[in-house]
Symmetry: C2
């Protein structure tokens, strides 16, 4: 059984289901499902629901719920470099839902649909005891799509923007610090244009919907490689997120731990494409964040005062599930992980390039 | 505001949402959304969740829940004459869900996916207080798709098979008569091959997911026509459904009332295509059920001992929502509708052809 709790569940749910010969990616190999149509065009398909986020109070304002419903799906399309085509909405409404709340929810959906260029093609509405909004998004990929597979040691590691805002927002909101959560104005932006540029230059790509460390853990497992973060963490983390983290007395790396992410793209660019990629990024007014390198072996090396330390990414990734979503227990476990220092006693020297 | 409660809700939810210039159908004009891709191929997309059906106990066995989750979406693809491509699964599981129940649920999904030739492309899993399974299905349409629009007076009205099993099943199940519900072995079959044949010959098509009368009501509104059922009701209704109906002391026509349907296709064939259509149907071993004719004007005329009587389809369609899903109140209201006789005093003479 897979040591990653989420992957073990996916295996249990999917092992008996029929697969398609037209599909280009295997289970977990891509943020969006890639299907070659008769005629050769590749379709990108994804579905994500906003349900637990409403139940736990992580997303409380109706506009944000609506925005995120679309954005999380657009993020998956972005990660395969797709051109957006549209979405289907699947809404479960509660019978007593306030009319203004509903209008604001639909307004958030409409705003994100405009921002992501994902018109609403259709949908289905149900009534139930709990509000839930699911979206299925469709895009097309011109040329070869990019997946989570394909990076090699020596490739450069990037993020589409500064990281950590998803973690900081979740920490504030779930700790009941509404003022701080509101001040962060958490509203991830679509990365579709960036994703199409990444598709032409990068060797693999995945979004940080579950946080940067779980994303890097998944890419490590799929590609049988390690990662080494080069800049200091304060250089790759959002300043507002760093402030929340400092106020809470948490070490900076915990902003990368998930399970709630910032919906940026993490991707790798071969050395040979590095210069052209940065040039083209500049041309669309985008400045990707250099994170470091892909390495041989396994493990995630983070910069620390004593050189690089390896983070137990598997433990970090399973932690929130293991503590049954208890935020205080989660934070306390992250702190003891931090005090434990480098796992398995391995300090990676890494390869410098 | 639309007099149909469901349509008024759809209007409220969708009026502010951006639409796509690539979409061939307007809101409500088609069972599946039709989008023309770059290159010309038409994509058919639909989404439907099984949620209320679980909550009310209408679907209780996990295999049936799984089967219906896929089938209701396949039925929408069938209604536009699509070739199935695949589905995305969006599952909300309860944390305490029994392992055998989950395996049986996935087994039902797998069986229907095989039967409908809809491989599972991917999905998303959430945890929540209530089990829910949503599917988004994708297909392609070769040539011109068929929609709910296009029938004309004089066209012949058909169903893909005998009607009434969905109504009888729901009546038995929701009245707590488990033995009868089980004996019906309710498991609608995919009509995708039939749908592709219908697409080439028919003038409009819609599935009976909400029951035959709501389907005919919607087609009447969209096409500004009436319908006249010609055969006796016992000739177009499933014998097992008729037996349930007789045992409950209900008039036969109530089997067509919905709100739970039999997931057959209702469609219209122009007189000029009638013979060729029936010939080709025979070639694939399918015997469509002749229901009657499209008429000028409006209203649904059902055969009765005193000639044709017009059913108040709007009232029938809104009834279950108006009684807040109370089955006893619903049945009692259907009975008083029946006693009230022809609505608005209009007995249609109809056009004979």
């Amino acid at each position: 059984m897979d040591a990653v709790i989420e992957n073990a569940l996916i295996q249990r749910l999917t092992h008996a289901l029929p697969r398609s010969a037209r599909q280009l990616n295997g289970v977990r190999e891509s943020d969006a499902e890639l299907v070659r149509l008769p005629g050769g065009l590749v379709l990108a398909l994804t579905t994500d629901a906003i349900a637990e986020e409403i139940e736990t109070g992580l997303y409380a304002e109706p506009e944000l719920i609506g925005w995120m419903t679309v954005l999380v799906n657009a993020s998956d399309l972005a990660a395969v470099g797709a051109e957006p085509l549209g979405i289907l909405l699947n809404q479960t409404l509660t019978p007593d839902l306030d009319g203004r709340f509903l209008d604001a929810l639909q307004n958030g959906i409409a705003q994100a649909a405009e921002a992501c260029r994902l018109p609403v093609l259709g949908g289905d509405t149900n009534f139930g005891r709990r509000l839930q909004v699911a979206v299925a998004a469709v895009g097309t990929v011109e040329g070869e799509p990019i997946t989570r597979l394909g990076c090699r040691p020596g490739d450069r590691l990037f993020a589409s923007d500064l990281l950590g805002l998803g973690g900081a927002y979740a920490l504030a909101r779930l700790s009941g610090d509404t003022a701080t959560a509101d001040s962060l104005d958490y509203r991830p932006q679509p990365r579709l244009a960036e994703g199409r540029l990444i598709r032409r230059h990068a060797s693999c790509c995945m979004d940080t919907s579950d946080g940067a460390i779980p994303t890097l853990d998944e890419l490590m497992r799929l590609n049988d490689v390690g990662f080494r973060i080069e800049p200091s963490l304060s250089a790759i983390l959002d300043p507002a997120a760093l402030a929340v983290c400092a106020a809470a007395g948490l070490p900076e790396w915990t902003l990368l731990a998930g399970p709630h992410g910032e919906f940026e793209l993490i991707f790798t660019v071969p050395q040979s494409s590095h210069r052209l990629f940065l040039h083209e990024a500049r041309m669309i007014g985008w400045r990707p964040v250099e994170l470091g390198f892909v390495e041989e072996g396994s493990g995630l090396g983070l910069p620390s005062p004593e050189g690089h330390r390896v983070i137990d990414t598997l433990r970090v990734r399973n932690l929130f599930t293991e503590v049954n979503g208890d935020v205080r227990a989660y934070v306390s476990q992250l702190l003891s992980l931090d005090r434990a220092g480098p796992t398995a006693g391995v300090i990676r020297t890494g390869l410098r390039r």
